[in-house]
């Protein structure tokens, strides 16, 4: 039976891990390769590097990180953050990365996803969706130009509907802004354009340690036939269980609970296994 995946995520800036694992065996907490090896030894199922490098000149540093990681770590590697062109994807894949996670570039140009999937195969195209629940306080939502494109009218958020039914919109700028795009419809659109997987982050929960947004996760998982990775809000192991069992996620992603050694990947897997979840131990 297919195992549920546990995926640690490392934030990388200018080639260095931000909030690296503070562990006795790791000499340099900021070295992405040492962090990757640490997670590899614990039995992580995949690894995600989120590149938060701000300056354009330093963007190549992530290529070097992937290259060095792939020399020693033989598990699927995903890189997200700042991917704008097919060349960006090609460079990362050539360096030894297996999947790329596309977020902003998909929102700017949804066909970027289909071009990428056509060229490199759906299996390596993850679409990252940052979603936020729609409330009355949605004044910052703006109608983007490409909504006028008739082929995408089907993803527009129904602003009348949110009062009666829970609705989530795409969020940008780290949750500070909203877009008039319905997150569920968007996920389906991304699937139809060739996304191989959805990395779903609840911006309401991200950083809260209150657990995943289960309803959001389940709604998206029920509406697409590609795998969904739940992200945003993990504070304890129970949350991982909830994301998988109640949220129906195929994989769960977490950052801080692993970085700060609150739990090891092995502990997380043992916990899930004891509660009847099929994991790879």
């Amino acid at each position: 039976m297919l195992a549920k995946r546990i995926i640690p995520c490392l934030d990388v800036r200018d080639g260095r891990v931000v909030k690296g694992v503070n562990f006795v065996n790791i000499r340099d907490a900021g070295d992405p390769v040492e962090n990757a090896i640490y997670y590899d030894e614990q039995g992580a199922d995949e690894l995600v590097f989120l590149d938060i490098t701000a300056s354009h000149e330093k963007r190549k540093t992530i290529i070097d990180v992937v290259e060095r990681t792939a020399n020693d770590v033989f598990m699927p590697l995903t890189v997200g953050g700042g991917i704008r062109t097919l060349e960006d994807i090609r460079d990362l894949l050539n360096a030894g990365c297996d999947k790329v996670s596309i977020n902003t570039s998909a929102v700017k140009d949804p066909y970027f996803v289909s071009r990428a999937a056509e060229r490199f195969g759906s299996q390596c195209i993850v679409v990252a969706i940052d979603a936020k629940m729609v409330t009355d306080k949605m004044e910052s939502a703006t109608k983007e130009e490409w909504f006028d494109n008739a082929s995408f009218s089907d993803v527009i958020l129904d602003l009348e509907g949110f009062q009666s039914m829970k609705t989530w919109a795409l969020s940008t700028h780290g949750g500070r802004r909203m877009k008039l795009i319905d997150a569920v419809k968007w996920a389906k659109k991304m699937e139809s354009l060739g996304a191989g997987e959805i990395l779903l982050t609840s911006m309401d929960r991200d950083g809260t340690k209150d657990g995943y947004d289960i309803e959001l996760t389940r709604t998206i998982a029920d509406n697409v036939s590609i795998p969904v990775i739940a992200s945003g809000g993990v504070g304890n192991l129970e949350h991982l269980y909830e994301g998988i069992v109640y949220g129906k996620a195929d994989a769960v992603l977490a950052a801080s609970i692993f970085h700060f050694r609150e739990y090891t990947i092995l502990e997380a897997k043992q916990y899930l296994k004891d509660r009847g979840v099929n994991v790879r131990l």
């Binding site: 598990m75 297996d98 997987e197």
Partner: protein
């Protein structure tokens, strides 16, 4: 300086990233080269045919690169051959992906999409392989080990004789085949951590001993 003949040729025909396959072989100490040249394929002691993407593109590219003959010739000559993912699927007669497309036809059987079982397709992640029969060089791999998969189609061989490994995803499908010098996997040993490297090591040993 004279370049030594590479022992293992990883066939590059424009189907996906071969870097991780190369790195995995290097990790176990193998001498490998990524190549599109018929001559290098024919000169190698062992051949690895990886590949991700669409079946038809795979076959079209193999044709375009003009390397089908040298691959078939090498297999027929008894040279150790490892197919991974599309490298497994391409060995069969046909695939139903995008209508119907013809494969290399080295083995009888076809490639079909996962049946609708209410499960996610692609089948992506870690799943177990139960060995029905396997070569000596893989006897050190524990039965029911987890390997990394990512695919939407799987092979259905006509003959059970070549079936080597079975995996359960809604139903049981063939995840590995083995016949004489040919071993081919639906999973990615190069992405399957320790057990994957052990697999690669086993194949490398097989090449060395041939």
């Amino acid at each position: 300086m004279l370049k030594l003949k590479s022992m293992i040729a990883i066939v590059d025909y424009g189907m996906g990233n071969l870097r991780s396959v190369q790195k995995a072989f290097q990790k176990v100490g193998a001498d490998v080269v990524i190549t599109s040249s018929s001559r290098e394929i024919e000169n190698a002691k062992g051949i690895v045919l990886p590949g991700v993407g669409a079946f038809k593109d795979c076959i079209d590219n193999l044709k375009r690169f003009g390397i089908i003959d040298s691959i078939i010739k090498s297999i027929e000559a008894g040279k150790p051959f490892l197919g991974i993912c599309l490298g497994l699927q391409s060995l069969f007669e046909e695939s139903e992906e995008f209508g119907s497309s013809e494969g290399l036809g080295i083995f009888k059987g076809k490639v079909v999409r996962f049946k609708e079982m209410g499960l996610k397709v692609p089948h992506m992640g870690w799943n177990q392989v139960r060995f029905v029969r396997r070569p000596e060089f893989l006897s050190h791999i524990p039965d029911n080990s987890f390997f990394y998969f990512v695919h939407s189609y799987h092979v259905v061989p006509t003959s059970n004789e070549i079936v080597s490994g079975i995996t359960d995803y809604g139903y049981e499908f063939v995840s590995m085949i083995y016949k004489d010098n040919v071993i081919a996997t639906q999973f990615h040993p190069e992405k399957s951590q320790t057990v994957g490297l052990e697999f690669i090591k086993g194949f490398y040993r097989f090449v060395e001993q041939s």
